[in-house]
């Protein structure tokens, strides 16, 4: 029973991972690529790790520490990367609209 739950969670997670890959490939400019690439992949990898815990319940300690590490580091690194790119190049899009120009 819990195996089926694990498989369903891993399937959902891999669908999110594929969505992040498609977004990374199809989005028009850098900031939107970053948006698609990091958020969806964080959710997807967390779902996959919870599914793996359901498949092998003896590994729960190591895998939950891994999930905690991903939950701390991945949004942080994406935020820092976005901020530094904005400070250097602006928004890098074609429309030229920059809402944050005053408080750079």
């Amino acid at each position: 029973m819990i195996d089926i739950l694990g498989y369903i969670l891993i399937l959902l997670g891999s669908i999110f991972l594929i969505l992040s890959g498609v977004g990374l490939l199809r989005m028009p400019d850098t900031i939107t690529r970053m948006h698609a690439g990091t958020k969806a992949s964080t959710l997807g990898s967390l779902l996959v790790i919870i599914g793996v815990i359901c498949l092998e319940p003896t590994l729960w300690f190591k895998l939950s520490i891994l999930a905690l590490f991903i939950l701390i580091t991945n949004p942080l690194s994406s935020s820092i990367l976005a901020r530094s790119t904005y400070l250097k190049h602006g928004f890098l899009n074609q429309s030229g609209i920059d809402d944050l120009k005053d408080n750079r």
């Binding site: 990091t38 520490i65 990367l81 901020r83």
Partner: protein, 85 residues
């Protein structure tokens, strides 16, 4: 079943790999590198379950650590290039 899931995750890695090769800007490549690292963490966790050998899990933690450090150092590099023009 688990082989099918591994193939799905490999397809996701392939999609972000195309952006990693193509990406015109440095930030595109770094984002693709970060995403590939996170997807590879879940791939390695799944592979270590499918190989029935739990000691492989240490590599996944190191993988997440390397992705984090690499991304932050490239962000630092972006800011440093700011001063030369």
């Amino acid at each position: 079943m688990i082989n099918f899931l591994i193939l799905l995750i490999l397809f996701a890695i392939f999609l972000s790999f195309i952006r990693f090769i193509k990406g015109p800007h440095l930030t595109d490549r770094v984002v693709a590198f970060d995403t590939m690292g996170i997807i590879a963490v879940s791939l390695l966790a799944l592979l270590s379950v499918s190989m029935k050998d739990t000691i492989y899990l240490d590599v996944t933690f190191v993988f997440a650590l390397i992705g984090f450090i690499g991304t932050i150092i490239f962000a630092r590099f972006n800011v440093a290039k700011d001063s030369d023009d």
